[in-house]
């Protein structure tokens, strides 16, 4: 019983922990791309990678202050969005999908390659860039705190606080933007691109703005992730994470301001619960080692997410709070 309570406490913690923050920020950006504009961005993780490494490289390799690192990360995401959008936003949706997923893979491979070692630290990654961030915390970050039935380090709390603050700010921004004429144009592009074009709007430019803003939001997610974990490693930015963010977004509800946030929290609750639950079942011998061993547990989450994505899209594409009429699934 106490073991079950421990698992539950751990799962509750992950409702608001850094992973949930990271995927909430990725999801808020994706919501702008996919939910509101109808863009199929399959390389969201690339924006997060640039944000995270922007901070890590600037601070630990070039010795710049944290704030400059943040600006570099944002600029890098901005440039990536331009580069990806320029050739593909005029083409059919799946072209953007293929190009973005390819770009994400290119960036990850380049960042982890041996020739890049002097800049990115290759597979070992970078660390030791977080001091400037934690010095700003208004409380003691060296000790641990008990909170929500589990133990938190001061650093975790500070990273999560800043993260949720960012989530709130960006969500408010999107909420306001979507009530503005700008937001209405985006939604109209999602519904019928040609109609918008016939009204004299520059569809290409609006799509580009959406891609840039959503990418920049994801880059902040990457920054929070590397600051919270204390290291930037190329394998934190696996391609599959983009689809975890999609799963979170669709689970919560696309084209809803709160959709990606609710989705990310619930997704991480489920993932933490199954991870810890399966580990406990294996430890206590309920699942024999031949069927599932403890190192496999980390992979189960991707299987669950994959199956979950399929089931959601087939049976409830609007997720928990979405509206069926606002989902772009039939566009070409």
């Amino acid at each position: 019983m106490s073991e079950f309570l421990d698992i539950l406490a751990l799962s509750v913690k992950s409702l608001v922990s850094q992973s949930a923050v990271f995927f909430a920020l990725m999801g808020v950006g994706l919501n702008l791309h996919f939910g509101y504009t109808g863009l199929l961005n399959f390389g969201q993780i690339a924006f997060a990678l640039l944000g995270g490494y922007g901070v890590a490289i600037s601070v630990s390799m070039w010795g710049l202050p944290l704030i400059v690192g943040v600006i570099i990360g944002v600029l890098a995401a901005f440039v990536l969005a331009l580069l990806l959008g320029l050739p593909t936003l005029r083409l059919r949706a799946d072209y953007l999908a293929i190009v973005t997923i390819a770009a994400a893979e290119i960036l990850r491979l380049v960042f982890r390659s041996t020739p890049a070692t002097p800049v990115t630290g290759a597979t070992r990654g970078l660390s030791g860039f977080g001091q400037g961030f934690y010095d700003r915390a208004p409380f003691e970050t060296q000790r641990t705190y008990d909170f929500l039935g589990s133990t938190w380090t001061g650093r975790e709390i500070w990273a999560c606080l800043v993260g949720w603050l960012l989530v709130t700010l960006f969500s408010l921004l999107i909420w306001q933007l979507m009530r503005s004429p700008w937001g209405r144009v985006l939604k109209s592009i999602r519904e019928d691109e040609d109609a918008v074009r016939s009204l004299g709007k520059n569809v290409y430019s609006y799509k580009m703005q959406s891609l840039i803003l959503g990418g920049v939001i994801a880059s902040f997610g990457g920054m929070i992730l590397v600051l919270a974990t204390g290291s930037a490693n190329p394998d934190q930015f696996q391609n599959a994470n983009t689809f975890l963010a999609y799963a979170a977004l669709i689970l919560g509800g696309t084209a809803r301001v709160l959709g990606p946030i609710i989705g990310a929290m619930i997704l991480w609750f489920i993932i933490a619960f199954t991870d810890a639950g399966l580990a406990a079942l294996i430890r206590n011998g309920f699942i024999p080692d031949e069927i599932l061993s403890s190192p496999d547990v980390a992979n189960i989450r991707f299987v669950l997410v994959g199956v979950g994505l399929m089931i959601l899209l087939i049976f409830r594409p609007q997720g928990i709070i979405g509206d069926r009429r606002e989902i772009v699934l039939d566009a070409h």
Binding site: L40, F42, L86, P87, T88, L91, R92, A93, D94, Y95, A97, I98, V99, I101, A102, A103, E105, I106, L109, V110, S113, T114, P115, N239, A240, F243, Y246, A247, I250, L292, D296, N299, I300, F302, V303, V305, G306, V307, G308, L309, M310, L313, I314, P317, V328, L329, D330, A331, H332
Partner: protein
């Protein structure tokens, strides 16, 4: 050999065959005696041969053997066959060093020191990895023919995997992100049959292709057919295929494990020289098999009734349906063919690059590159584009590090979309 001899006698084959067999028997016995004699007589030995495909055996390289305490046991030069042999005082761990200054011009050693543990009465064999330019160290111009052939092999392999993906896109409009997993499933099924069950690889490949075709069929019957029936949107199907890919990929990770592993057959083949290029036999056969299979696919598309129906459905589905073609049956057939071809491609890839759980995803992006380059939805475009991508990927190692070669292929994909989004053989109308 004995089996062959006995069955030869029983069948009362021609006397000449018997003589040849006996001669072969005698010869192989002679060889065995020759190689075993020193080991039997003298106890432990260390043996090495220095040679590369271009320079042949390397004579006169100084070799030093030291024991675990660092005391010199033996020193000498390689003979005219590039061989060196040292007798050891007893079993244990030894360090063997070659003098890199004695190597001929253009030949470099990756490491000049090797450690070997020799058991009692055993022969410790040591291999020094030498490169002579044909495999990396030499001038760029000399490598181009070699890289072109390797690129052709790789491109044909991508093409085999991509033809199915392209046909599925052409007939159903689905951008199937789970096609890479069909490749990986084929390779892994063959691996289990070959390594765990001990089946010869050729048989394992045939079974893997049948399994691949079945998985493709299952894909359509269980998932995509019903979704088409419901009139699901293309983007919904695309995201569903992502979910399927993710789930299958990590299930494969759990079943197969995270490490990449080779097949049991055709391991450690030596490259054979063909003029300016050198290829292992398995690479050569891989090229031939790919070519034959692709020609068969082309013949099927061009000549057979079902092939013509496939092209008709890809060209205009409604028109095909109204002219009496059973579209669903054609699509199901496309899935079976695509799955079987993907499985074959997976085995060929596993043969050259080892089998791994995420090999499908690695290849998927290159398949997309090939298909986009050739023109989305056209079978011949996929073929042409894939070969270009394969050659490009291999040639790119002239200027970028080997581990980044796939990046070259992916960059090519992005460049194509800027310059000519409809691809080489595609029509403008498909771009949208």
């Amino acid at each position: 050999m004995l089996m062959a001899l006995r069955s030869g006698v029983v069948a009362q084959w021609a006397a000449r065959a018997l003589v040849v067999a006996l001669g072969g028997l005698a010869l192989s016995f002679g060889l065995v005696l020759a190689t075993q004699a020193p080991a039997l007589a003298e106890g432990e030995t260390i043996r090495l041969t220095l040679a590369t495909s271009r320079s042949g055996p390397i004579e006169g390289v100084e070799v030093t053997v030291k024991d675990a305490n660092g005391d010199e046991v033996d020193q000498g030069n390689t003979d005219d066959q590039g061989r060196f042999e040292a007798e050891l005082p007893g079993p244990g761990e030894y360090t063997v060093t070659i003098n890199p200054d004695d190597l001929p011009e253009g030949v470099t050693a990756a490491a000049t020191e090797r450690q070997v543990t020799v058991a009692e009465g055993a022969v410790g064999r040591i291999a020094f990895a030498l490169s002579d330019g044909s495999t990396g160290g030499g001038g760029a111009a000399g490598r181009i023919p070699q890289l072109l052939v390797e690129g052709l092999r790789f491109g044909l392999l991508i093409a085999i995997c991509a033809v199915g993906l392209s046909l599925i896109f052409g007939t159903t409009g689905l951008t199937n992100f789970a096609h890479g997993e069909l490749v990986a499933i084929g390779a892994i099924v063959a691996w289990f049959l070959n390594v765990s069950a001990g089946a010869p690889l050729i048989l394992a490949t045939i079974i893997a292709m049948i399994v691949g075709g079945f998985v493709g069929w299952l894909n359509d019957v269980v998932l995509w057919g019903p979704l088409r029936g419901r009139g699901s949107g293309l983007i919904a199907m695309l995201v569903i295929s992502i979910g399927l890919s993710l789930a299958l990929r990590y299930i494969l990770n759990i079943i197969f494990g995270g490490r990449s592993q080779p097949y049991a057959d055709y391991r450690g083949q030596r490259a054979v020289d063909y003029g300016p290029i050198s290829l292992t036999d398995k690479d050569l056969y891989s090229i031939f098999i790919s070519l034959i299979v692709l020609v068969l696919v082309a013949l099927m598309l061009q000549r057979t009734k079902i092939g013509k129906a496939m092209r008709a459905v890809a060209d205009n589905r409604d028109l095909a349906a109204s002219s009496g073609i059973n579209v669903d049956r054609v699509i199901r057939f496309v899935w079976i063919v695509g799955g079987a071809l993907a499985a074959l491609g997976g085995v060929l890839f596993g043969l050259s690059d080892e089998v791994s759980w995420d090999m499908g995803f690695k290849l998927l992006l290159l398949m997309f590159a090939g298909i986009t380059l050739g023109g989305l939805g056209t079978a011949y475009g996929a073929l042409l584009g894939s070969i270009i991508v394969g050659v490009f990927v291999q040639l790119s190692t002239l200027v970028i590090a080997d581990e980044l070669k796939y990046v070259g292929g992916l960059l090519l994909l992005i460049v194509i979309l800027v310059v000519r989004p409809q691809g080489i053989l595609g029509s403008r109308a498909r771009v949208g």
